[in-house]
């Protein structure tokens, strides 16, 4: 196992900086601050700097960063590692968290000692915990350490859903928790089987050891099954729409853009780094088939929603479906997965969806604040009340539809090409139909929002600076469309 890289300490900082913020927030009075968000902002700046430093180091050296914690080399100790994909996703998470935080500042700014302080204290503390957990998922190399990361993520995400304390959102949070716990239990079960079989949980060590036998396949299947429930892959998605629609808009943005990507990322790790030998085509077909079903069915369901936030939540389930197509599209005989365009397409879909979806939820939140509701049928006038937000919503929609110029366009084009190359015509057809359905549900909202209201509306003004955070996220999603249309070097760094 490799020793620590010179800049490996950055990986530790990525985990630890948000934790310092989290601990500090509980004792704001002790450190002389009256408001929780005063702790959050220095932490956000530091975290952004760390993520940026990791990304540039990995890109410049062309090698993965590694760190051996405490000097105890695996398999006894724990290692952290960031390859090209991890570095990109760390930067993505930091950017989304920071922009969402800028948007949330006005919503969660109460003094810690006041009654309203509950929401502010909970939101910022949980956001910090969530960010640390995400970073650990992205850099962890030990399957049990990753289990702890998943639990940290669950405990941060679930209470965010029911911050408003209504019975409906509490119920959504409880259902989310039950699904997440079943997922963790199955994941841990697979981990136990792998330890019993190989005596190590370090992914780097397992890669060398795993044999294509029943125990290994059963263990990985259990783990992937559990992670599928956490990633809300169809038909295990039923917890997601009420949870993501019930949370306050900034929380929804983080949950939909980042939290569901963490279990998906772990499935990718298990699939490509733990499973021995070339991936089996039938299993890839099953995952891709479920992804395709998610795209078709949940896009149609999104089209029929009456609430804007519920529609966006169903769109999340559909867009997650695209990610699972990747398992079929990277299975080219004789070519390592990360040199296929399916790999680039899948990863690009992941990143561009994160920015687009965060933008969309923030924009929806601003529109709901301006109008006082989020019923799609009564959106007329939104274009005048919150023009920047509606524009951001439209831009983000481009990415979901897969129209140029946007990251979603390039991602879906790459996936489409990969499907054609692999001869998987049904996947190509699903991608095309999915784009049309997304266009239908996005334009449905835009048309209503741009219409003139029948009577003059009483709207509340919304701060332009907050609208601009949504717009920035949407612009990043668009700018991702400039990524070259070929296997992308950065995403292959550090692959074996």
């Amino acid at each position: 196992m490799a020793a620590s890289s010179p800049a490996g300490y950055l990986l530790v900082l990525a985990l630890v900086v948000p934790v310092i913020g989290l601990l500090g927030m509980s004792v704001t009075a002790l450190i002389g601050l009256r408001r929780v968000e005063f702790v959050a902002f220095p932490v956000l700046v530091a975290g952004l700097a760390v993520a940026g430093a990791i990304a540039t180091t990995v890109a410049e050296t062309g090698e993965a960063l590694t760190y051996v914690v405490g000097g105890w080399a695996p398999p006894l100790g724990l290692a952290l590692r960031a390859d090209g994909v991890s570095a990109v996703m760390l930067a993505m998470a930091a950017l989304v968290v920071a922009l969402v935080a800028l948007n949330a500042r006005a919503l969660f700014c109460a003094d810690d000692a006041t009654p309203d302080g509950r929401r502010a204290f909970a939101f910022w503390s949980l956001l910090m915990g969530l960010w640390s957990a995400l970073n650990l998922v992205l850099v962890g190399e030990d399957l049990f350490n990753l289990f702890v990361a998943l639990e940290l993520l669950t405990f941060a995400a679930v209470p965010l859903v029911c911050l408003d304390g209504r019975a409906a959102t509490l119920e959504a949070a409880l259902r989310y928790l039950v699904f997440a716990l079943i997922g963790s239990a199955l994941y841990l079960l697979g981990t136990a089987l792998l330890y019993g079989r190989y005596g190590t949980l370090d992914i780097g060590t397992l890669r060398e050891l795993t044999q294509p036998d029943l125990a290994t396949h059963a263990a990985v299947a259990l783990m992937i099954g559990g992670l599928m429930a956490k990633a809300a892959l169809f038909p295990l998605h039923i917890w997601l729409p009420p949870a993501h629609a019930g949370a306050p808009a900034p929380a929804s943005a983080v949950l939909s853009a980042l939290v569901v990507k963490a279990p998906f990322f772990l499935i990718v790790r298990l699939w490509f780094d733990v499973l021995p030998g070339p991936p089996s085509l039938p299993a890839a077909q099953v995952l891709a088939g479920l992804g395709a079903a998610a795209i078709l069915i949940c896009s149609v369901v999104a089209l029929r929603q009456e609430r804007l936030k519920l529609m966006i939540a169903y769109s999340t389930v559909a867009q997650i479906g695209y990610l699972f197509l990747m398992f079929r599209l990277t299975a080219e005989p004789g070519v390592p997965a990360w040199q296929t365009i399916g790999w680039t397409g899948g990863m690009l879909q992941l990143v561009s969806h994160a920015f687009a979806k965060a933008a969309m939820f923030l924009a929806a939140g601003m529109i709901a604040e301006a109008l006082g509701h989020d019923r799609i049928a009564e959106l007329a006038g939104a274009g005048r009340a919150a023009p920047v937000s509606v524009f951001a919503f439209g831009l983000a929609g481009l990415s979901l539809m897969g129209l140029p110029p946007s990251g979603g366009f390039v991602a879906k084009l790459l996936l489409l090409n990969a499907a054609t190359l692999a001869g998987a015509w049904w996947i190509a057809a699903v991608i095309s139909v999915g784009g049309l359905l997304a266009a239908a549900y996005v334009t449905r909202v835009l048309k209503r929002a741009m219409a003139t209201p029948p009577a003059p509306l009483a709207t509340r003004p919304v701060a332009l600076s907050r609208e601009l955070t949504a717009l920035t996220l949407a612009l990043v999603a668009v700018a991702l469309g400039l990524v070259p249309l070929q296997p992308f070097e950065l995403l292959a760094i550090g692959r074996p």
Binding site: F155, G165, L177, L188, A192
Partner: protein, 109 residues
């Protein structure tokens, strides 16, 4: 049959029982209880691996034993969060029902 194998089979049964309970029970409280049974089965799987890996004069491999200790504490935290969510849900439902009952006649009357 050896002791660890026996406990391994018990662990397999507990996982099956717990999983069925989590999936098929209707009441959230029983689901949480079943989740704990399933968790116990999973931890026992680690325990059996630890016992089978006894070496160097130890009664068991200490690494999985330590993992189980961490896991037990995490499972406790999960149970607590679930129970508190249920409690709050019951309170809020009662409050919302009372509010609806008191406001409904006013609106129509």
């Amino acid at each position: 049959m050896s002791g660890p194998t026996l406990y391994g089979l018990a662990a397999a049964l507990l996982v099956g029982l717990g999983l069925y309970g989590v999936l098929a029970q209707a009441s959230p409280l029983r689901r949480v209880l079943a989740f704990n049974l399933m968790g116990a089965g999973v931890f026992l799987m680690f325990g059996v691996a630890a016992r089978r890996g006894a070496a160097a004069g130890l009664p068991g491999d200490p690494v999985p034993q330590a993992l189980v200790i961490t896991g037990i504490v995490v499972a406790f935290a999960a149970t607590a969060l679930a129970v508190m969510l249920m409690r709050r849900l019951a309170q809020t439902r009662a409050e919302e029902a009372a509010a609806a009952a008191s406001s409904a006649p006013a609106e129509h009357g």
